[in-house]
C-alpha cells in the first residue's frame, strides 16, 4: 500500500511538472519566469550513509543542496525531490545487493536517477555518485571522490559537470569560481567563492581598497587592483600558494585588469601618460605595451574569447560608450550608439555578444549587444535599482552582476534569456564588482 501511495504522489507531481517546478524547496531565492525548455528529469534522494548521526545527516543535506543548485542552473535537467524515498531507493546499498529498483520510477515518469553512498574515512569523506537511466534500467556513469569534509560540494559539482557533459556535450559550470569585492567600513576586500555563492573565502586582508578582481583562466590566480601601498596598483594573487605579487608598478592610476583567454597577458588601464589608456603586460611584469593613445578615457578592457579583440569603455565621443579593437590596438570601432552612458563591457564566452551597463533615465540597466551587429540590443533589467558590472558565466547562459535593487549592493545572477534570477548571498553584506571565472 505504501508503494502505491508513493508512486501515485510521484506520478501526480511529475505530470504537473511540465508547467512548473513543483519540487522547489522553500526559501530559495529563485524566480522562474515563463516557460521552461525541455529538461531531463533527474530523481534525487539523499545519498546512502552506512552511519547515521548528525554529522552524516548534515553531509547528506549538503549533497542534496549542491545537486539541487547545480541541476537547476545546468538547465538541461529537472530535479525531482525523492528525499522521502531515500531508504527505499538505497536499500540495495544497505543490503549490498546492487543499485535502486528503477522500474517503479520509470513507470512514475522519471527518466534518470542519481544516488550513491557517502562515508567517512578518518578525516576524509568518500563520495560515490551513480547515475541511472530509469527507462533502460541501466547504469550510465559513476564516479568516486575523496577529500576533506569541506570539499563535499566540490565533489558534487564535479559530478554535476559530468552529467552536463554526458547529456549536452557542453562543459558544465558547476565547478566554476567567482571573485567579488566586499566592503566593510572603509575597506574593500576581495573574496572568492564557488559559483553558487558557497565556500566563500577572503582573499585580501590589507584593510585598504581592493578592486576589480579578475580570475585567471587557470582558476588559480586573481588579478586585482589594490591601494594597499597608497595608490592604485596591479597585483596577482596565487590562491593555492597564498602569495601576492605587484605587477608592473607604473605611476598613475592602474585599474581594471583582465586576463587574456590564454593567460599570457593582462590588459589594464593606466593614466601615467596624463589620461587613462589601455595597456597589456605579462603577468611577470614585463612586456608593457600601449594599445590606445587617445586623450579621452579608455578603460575596462574585456577580451574576446579568441583573444584577438578587446572591448572597452571610452568617452572619446563625449560620454562613455562601448568600443572594440583588435588586441594590438588597431581597428577601433564603436559598438553602442544609443544612450549617453554605456560602460562595463563583458565579452560573452561564445564570442557573439557583449554585456554592458547603460544609464536609462537615471538608473543603470544591464544590456547585451551583438558583437557583430550593433543594432541588435537586448535589455535585461528594468527599473530595479542600479545594475552594474556584468560578468558572463563560462557557458554563456548567465550573467553575474551587482545591484542595489533591495537597498544595498548585492550580487545577482540572471539568465541571458531572462527567465531566471537568483540572489547569490542570503547573508547581508555589501557586495560588488563580481567576476565569474572558468
Amino acid at each position: 500500500m505504501k508503494k502505491i501511495v508513493f508512486a501515485s504522489i510521484a506520478m501526480l507531481a511529475l505530470s504537473a511538472s511540465g508547467r512548473a517546478q513543483v519540487f522547489d524547496r522553500p526559501g530559495i531565492d529563485i524566480v522562474i519566469r515563463g516557460e521552461e525548455g525541455r529538461r531531463l528529469s533527474v530523481g534525487l534522494p539523499h545519498f546512502y550513509s552506512p552511519v547515521v548521526n548528525a554529522e552524516t545527516k548534515a553531509v547528506q543535506e549538503e549533497i542534496y543542496d549542491a545537486f539541487y543548485q547545480d541541476l537547476r542552473l545546468a538547465r538541461a535537467f529537472k530535479l525531482v525531490n525523492l528525499v522521502d524515498y531515500s531508504t527505499e531507493i538505497n536499500s540495495g546499498y544497505q543490503k549490498g545487493s546492487g543499485g535502486p529498483n528503477l522500474e517503479g520510477w520509470y513507470l512514475a515518469g522519471l527518466e534518470t536517477l542519481v544516488t550513491g553512498e557517502v562515508r567517512f574515512e578518518g578525516r576524509e569523506i568518500v563520495l560515490n555518485c551513480h547515475l541511472y537511466d530509469a527507462k533502460q534500467k541501466t547504469y550510465i556513469i559513476g564516479k568516486s571522490y575523496r577529500g576533506r569534509k569541506h570539499a563535499i560540494r566540490n565533489m558534487v559539482h564535479r559530478f554535476s559537470d559530468e552529467m552536463v557533459f554526458r547529456f549536452t556535450g557542453d562543459k558544465g559550470i558547476a565547478s566554476s569560481k567567482i571573485a567579488f569585492v566586499q566592503r566593510s567600513d572603509r575597506a574593500k576586500e576581495i573574496y572568492i567563492a564557488d559559483y553558487d555563492g558557497k565556500n566563500v573565502r577572503q582573499l585580501t586582508g590589507n584593510g585598504s581598497l581592493n578592486l576589480s578582481p579578475d580570475l585567471a583562466p587557470d582558476g588559480n590566480q586573481v588579478a586585482y587592483v589594490s591601494y594597499r601601498d597608497g595608490r592604485s596598483e596591479l597585483y596577482t594573487a596565487n590562491i593555492a600558494a597564498r602569495t601576492t605579487k605587484k605587477i608592473g608598478s607604473l605611476p598613475g592610476t592602474n585599474a581594471a585588469p583582465a586576463w587574456s583567454p590564454d593567460g599570457r597577458l593582462i590588459a589594464f588601464a593606466n593614466s601615467h601618460e596624463g589620461n587613462t589608456d589601455i595597456y597589456t603586460i605579462r603577468p611577470d611584469g614585463t612586456g608593457l605595451r600601449r594599445l590606445t593613445s587617445h586623450p579621452a578615457i579608455d578603460t575596462s578592457p574585456s577580451w574576446s574569447p579568441t583573444g584577438r579583440a578587446i572591448a572597452f569603455t571610452s568617452d572619446r565621443s563625449g560620454g562613455p560608450q562601448i568600443y572594440t579593437m583588435n588586441s594590438d590596438g588597431s581597428n577601433v570601432r564603436r559598438l553602442t550608439f544609443s544612450g549617453k552612458y554605456n560602460a562595463s563591457p563583458d565579452w560573452a564566452p561564445k564570442g557573439d555578444k557583449i554585456a554592458f551597463v547603460r544609464r536609462v533615465r537615471g538608473t543603470f540597466e544591464l544590456f547585451v549587444v551583438s558583437a557583430v551587429d550593433h543594432t541588435v540590443v537586448q535589455q535585461l533589467t528594468w527599473n530595479q535599482g542600479d545594475n552594474e558590472d556584468p560578468s558572463w558565466s563560462p557557458d554563456g547562459q548567465y550573467i553575474l552582476f551587482g545591484s542595489n535593487r533591495f537597498g544595498h549592493p548585492e550580487l545577482f545572477i540572471i539568465s541571458a534569456n531572462r527567465d531566471f534570477e537568483l540572489k547569490l548571498f542570503r547573508k547581508a553584506g555589501n557586495y560588488s564588482n563580481p567576476h565569474w571565472g572558468s
Binding site: 528503477l102 585598504s208 591601494y227 592610476t253
Partner: protein, 205 residues
C-alpha cells in the same frame, strides 16, 4: 560539439500524459497482483551497481576564516593614504586648502571651483615648500572602473589649473579614489554633488 549518445536521445523523449495514465493503470495492476506480503520489488532485477572508477582526490584548502593572502600591515608603510593605519582623518576644518566640486561625468572647472583654486594657488605660493596631493573623487553612480579614470581626470584638471596659476606641478601629486571614498553615503542629488570633488591634502611643509 560532442556527439550525443543514442540512449540520450531516447531519454530526452517527453513523457506524454496518456503514457502516464497507462503507466498508472499498469502499475496499480502489478501492485494489486502482489498482495502476498513478500515485499518484492515491482521488478525483481534492480539495476546493477558497478564499481566506480578510481577516486578523484580533492586537496585541502586553507581554513575559511582567515584571508588567503598573508599580507602584513608593514606593506602599507610609507603610504600617506589608502591604508588603515596611516590614513589621514578628514581634517576639513584645519586644511587651509579648499575642495572643489564637479558636475556629473565632467571634469570641467566651474566658476565656483576657479575661486577655490585661486585661493589654493595663493596659499601654495605663500608656502613655497608645501607639497600637496590632489584626490579626485566621483559619486557612486556608474562604472567603478570608469569612475576611477574620471577621478583621475578631475585631479589632473585641478592640477593643470593650479599650474596655470603658477604652482609648479612638481609640488603636486594626484590620485584617484573613484567612487570609493565618498564624504556622504546617502543616495540623493545633494550627496552625489558633495561626492563629486577634488580634495587637496598637504603632504609636507
Amino acid at each position: 560539439m560532442v556527439q550525443v549518445p543514442m540512449e540520450v536521445r531516447v531519454l530526452s523523449m517527453s513523457v506524454n500524459p496518456k503514457t502516464l495514465t497507462v503507466a498508472l493503470v499498469c502499475m496499480l495492476l502489478v501492485l494489486s497482483s502482489c498482495k502476498d506480503r513478500t515485499r518484492q520489488p515491482v521488478v525483481a532485477q534492480p539495476a546493477a551497481r558497478p564499481t566506480p572508477v578510481p577516486a578523484e582526490t580533492f586537496v585541502g584548502q586553507p581554513e575559511p576564516d582567515e584571508p588567503i593572502l598573508q599580507e602584513t600591515d608593514d606593506a602599507s608603510d610609507g603610504a600617506l593614504l589608502g591604508s588603515r593605519r596611516t590614513e589621514m582623518k578628514d581634517d576639513d576644518e584645519r586644511n587651509p586648502l579648499r575642495k572643489i566640486h564637479f558636475e556629473y561625468d565632467k571634469d570641467r572647472i566651474t566658476d565656483e571651483a576657479k575661486a577655490a583654486l585661486s585661493a589654493n594657488a595663493a596659499y601654495l605660493k605663500q608656502n613655497s615648500y608645501t607639497y600637496i596631493r590632489i584626490e579626485g573623487h566621483c559619486d557612486e553612480r556608474g562604472s567603478i572602473e570608469y569612475n576611477q579614470a574620471l577621478g583621475d581626470r578631475r585631479a589632473n584638471a585641478a592640477k593643470k589649473y593650479l599650474s596655470a596659476l603658477g604652482v609648479d606641478p612638481v609640488r603636486v601629486d594626484s590620485i584617484s579614489f573613484g567612487e570609493d571614498r565618498p564624504v556622504s553615503f546617502d543616495q540623493n542629488e545633494y550627496a552625489w554633488a558633495q561626492n563629486r570633488r577634488a580634495e587637496f591634502r598637504i603632504l609636507s611643509e
